[in-house]
């Protein structure tokens, strides 16, 4: 047997409060495309970052071609022949393609025409279509990704790591990427391909390693001989989770109606594509999906933070499609955004000033804020939602994650909203925090509030939601009844599979 190109052996990596990797293994043979599969939070990115010199593993060995390595920085790993394309590109927008490719590994004196020709040659060798003289800011995301790959090739990377490379690509670009990767391995290089999209893995990769909860659950499976549904099962596992007690829903009148909504992102692409949904009072509608499939744009548009391309949003019979956020709040819409500290809260400001963000217009006496009332409001939120704080005057950033979320949720719920939109409300919280937030959300539902809840944690949605919608590439592709549906069913739909759900009686949904 040949010496593996890469061996990660028993990798442990702990962060404050989180164990990202617990004895994960990965072995990559030279000349292969190797998939690293797993759900969000399974520890894929952390594991490969240990290989790319971004992190140092707490325990475990990193071997390249049989030699044990210890990288102190990404630059070290690059020298050793590891190239990594991160999800966030590391490019200089005002530089040309060629300048970006050679940055950090340029000849001492640069002949502009010369490096452009060299970069063009390199691109041609791997079947890229790249204009080396164009500034990067003019390029599409797919083209930028090619520049990142060219950077690695320029440094003669022997192992190329791609972290969720297809997330920013159109289907056509994804196919092209696959062809480039085949050429690379044909030259004897190895590619590590991180993904959670099964169809890509099946079509691009030779072998797959599956991670779950930071550990390897299946190593180096030959993709050609494994069934896709088998891989899906390995990824999501079969663990039974002790559920938060949820009573049977008694859905009432519609509180939120979204009709044929489309939203464009900063790049001008459709992030939300013709989505229609309805949330009635007293039910929790869950939105499942892999991160980056338009969930954030959908909830931001509902809350009024993102302009709508077409379609309508109705809250309690009021059309709020173009209303500012505070009008929607008054109409009965509360919002817990995904980016708590950047959007929902102001981390440097005191607790009180965060607690009053929604209500301050009602707390004014002329030009002055009635601070006694503001303090009372804050006290009330802190008491009712059991927020633990040092002092009301302390900066919000001094609170723990769970308490931040309680404060945010508490603030949004003080207006007794009719509809609560919560995006990733439990992400990043510890177990106790997760349970507390989940209980609060269920309690809202039982009090007759409609809840639209986005989560990447399928177990959470299965436990809490009364209906689950699956979102892929900006569309709702299926609806499931959590009492009947299995994780595998929903998982397959999330991965872009063909299953349309367990409720044929509901509205037809487009594929």
């Amino acid at each position: 047997m040949t010496v593996p190109a890469v061996e990660l052996d028993g990798i442990w990596k702990r962060f404050p409060g989180v164990i990202a990797n617990s004895g994960a293994n990965l072995t990559v043979r030279p000349g292969t495309v190797h998939a690293v599969l797993g759900e969000n939070g399974a520890g894929k990115t952390t594991l490969v970052n240990c290989l790319a010199g971004v992190y140092r593993p707490d325990e475990g060995a990193v071997r390249l071609g049989g030699r044990e390595m210890s990288f102190s920085s990404p630059a070290n790993a690059i020298t050793a022949g590891i190239g990594m394309v991160h999800q966030e590109f590391r490019l200089v927008p005002t530089f040309t393609v060629a300048e970006n490719v050679v940055l950090g590994a340029a000849p001492r004196v640069i002949d502009q025409g010369g490096i452009e020709a060299l970069v063009a040659d390199l691109a041609a060798r791997f079947g890229f279509d790249a204009d080396p003289g164009r500034p990067v800011w003019q390029l599409s995301m797919g083209e930028r990704q090619r520049v990142e790959i060219l950077k690695a090739l320029w440094r003669e990377a022997n192992v190329l790591i791609l972290d969720e490379p297809t997330a920013v690509l159109t289907p056509q670009e994804a196919v092209e990427l696959g062809e480039v990767l085949r050429r690379m391995v044909a030259e004897g290089r190895s590619v590590i391909f991180i993904s959670h999209k099964l169809d890509e893995v099946v079509s691009f990769c030779d072998e797959a390693t599956v991670l779950r909860s930071g550990a390897t659950v299946a190593a180096s499976l030959p993709v050609a001989e494994v069934d896709a549904s088998e891989l899906a099962k390995l990824m999501v596992g079969d663990v039974a989770v002790e559920p938060v007690p949820v009573a049977v829903a008694m859905p009432g009148d519609p509180t939120l109606t979204v009709d044929a909504l489309s939203v464009r992102d900063a790049r001008g692409l459709l992030a939300v594509d013709d989505v229609s949904l309805e949330v009635r009072s007293g039910e929790i509608v869950g939105i499942a999906g892999v991160a980056g499939n338009g969930q954030r744009a959908l909830t931001d548009a509902i809350a009024g933070l993102e302009p709508v391309e077409s379609g309508t949003i109705t809250v309690m019979q009021h059309d709020v499609t173009s209303a500012p956020p505070q009008r929607r709040f008054r109409a009965g819409l509360a919002y817990v955004p995904e980016d708590r500290l950047g959007v929902g809260l102001a981390p440097k400001l005191p607790v009180t000033e965060n607690a009053m963000m929604r209500a301050y217009r009602k707390l004014r006496r002329g030009p002055i804020i009635a601070w006694d009332d503001a303090d009372q409001l804050t006290d009330q939120i802190i008491r009712e939602f059991e927020v633990k704080i040092g002092s009301k005057g302390a900066p919000l950033a001094s609170l723990s994650g769970g308490n931040l979320q309680r404060l945010l949720l508490g603030r949004e719920l003080t207006g007794e909203p009719d509809i609560l939109v919560a995006s990733q409300p439990t992400r990043g919280l510890d177990v106790a925090g997760v349970r507390a937030i989940q209980r609060l959300i269920v309690q809202q539902r039982d009090n007759g509030t409609g809840v639209l809840m986005v989560s990447e944690d399928l177990d959470e949605l299965l436990a809490l939601a009364d209906r689950i919608l699956v979102m892929v590439e900006g569309r709702i592709v299926g609806e499931f009844d959590p009492r009947v549906a299995t994780r595998a069913d929903i998982g397959a739909a999330m991965m872009g599979g063909s299953d349309r759900g367990t409720r044929p009686d509901t509205e037809e949904v487009s594929s």
Binding site: V54, P74, R90, V92, T94, F95, E99, V102, I110
Partner: protein, 316 residues
């Protein structure tokens, strides 16, 4: 007489010669600031560094009797004081605006302090004009371009060298990358701190040389407040030249022309206040900045994106 303005040949040539002389002064300082800002460090201490260079340039010049050593002394002094800004803004991550302004105070004070005993000193260590053989006889052009102090020719050489380093070398590529997105440059293996320190020090040296040019050529003596706000014009010039070495040079000649014109208004019978001529560089810079900002709506601004942003690698 055209439009009530009297031009004489000698007058116009004198004006253009002075424009090149003032242009040299502004160019050296602005070129240094361009290099610093290209690496992402705004240094508003230009006035202070120039003053320090002017005082030190005079002292070294008259004590050694060599204007060349004076120029060198000014450059070294400018570089040394600029390192205080680098230490605060790059090393400790202090706000670049505040630190630069504090450097203005420090530099102006330091210049007055070391130059205190040299005010009204009658000694001189002054560059003589150098005529480029064969070219200085060309009518008009010869007089305007080829009869200057060596500092002017040196400034041209430094300008070309700076352009080459910034645009045609690996170090220049790294330096510009550090000024655009420091984290990207860091990930590519360039040391952000080292490049920024080097850029700030180079900027300080050129500002110091610019100040020394005042005391070893343009004025020839040292007195308080000798720089008289020219450092701020140089700050404006960098923006006017859109952070490009060549355009900054053209801007330096244009701004130099306004400085030269101000003292010659009566000579040409131009009946506007010299103060308005003096305002022109600043108003033109504001206009350029507005145009840049308008255009930045659908393309990146020519301003280095990381200006004013301290960089600290995330600790893992």
């Amino acid at each position: 007489m055209i439009l009530g303005v009297t031009f004489t040949e000698a007058g116009v040539i004198g004006l253009l010669v002075a424009a090149v002389q003032f242009g040299t002064l502004l160019y050296l300082a602005a070129l240094g600031e361009t290099i610093s800002e290209k690496a992402g460090v705004l240094n508003l201490g230009l006035e202070g560094m120039m003053a320090t260079g002017a005082a030190m340039g005079f002292i070294v010049g008259v004590e050694t009797g060599s204007p060349w050593l004076g120029l060198l002394g000014g450059a070294v002094a400018g570089a040394i004081v600029s390192l205080i800004h680098a230490a605060a803004a790059v090393g400790l991550g202090a706000d670049q605006v505040v630190s630069g302004l504090a450097l203005t105070f420090l530099g102006l004070g330091f210049a007055d302090f070391i130059g205190d005993g040299y005010t009204d000193d009658a000694r001189r260590a002054r560059f003589a004009d150098v005529e480029i053989p064969g070219l200085d006889d060309i009518p008009w052009v010869g007089e305007v371009i080829f009869r200057h102090s060596p500092v002017t020719y040196l400034a041209v050489i430094i300008g070309v060298a700076a352009w080459f380093v910034l645009n045609r070398t690996a170090i220049g590529l790294g330096l510009r990358a550090v000024g655009e997105t420091a984290s990207t440059a860091d990930a590519a293996g360039h040391s952000v701190v080292r490049l920024r320190f080097a850029a700030v020090a180079t900027g300080g040296a050129l500002a110091g040389a610019s100040g020394a040019y005042l005391t070893t050529y343009l004025v020839g003596s040292w007195s308080q407040n000798l720089t008289a706000g020219r450092g701020w014009i140089a700050v404006a010039l960098v923006i006017f030249g859109a952070w490009r070495v060549g355009r900054v040079a053209i801007g330096a000649l244009l701004f130099g022309l306004t400085l030269a014109l101000k003292s010659r208004l009566t000579l040409f019978d131009i009946e506007i206040s010299g103060q308005f001529v003096d305002m022109l560089p600043f108003l033109l810079t504001i206009a350029v900045l507005v145009v840049i900002s308008f255009r930045a709506r659908n393309r990146p601004s020519p301003a280095p994106a990381a200006i004013g942003i301290a960089y600290r690698r995330e600790e893992r």
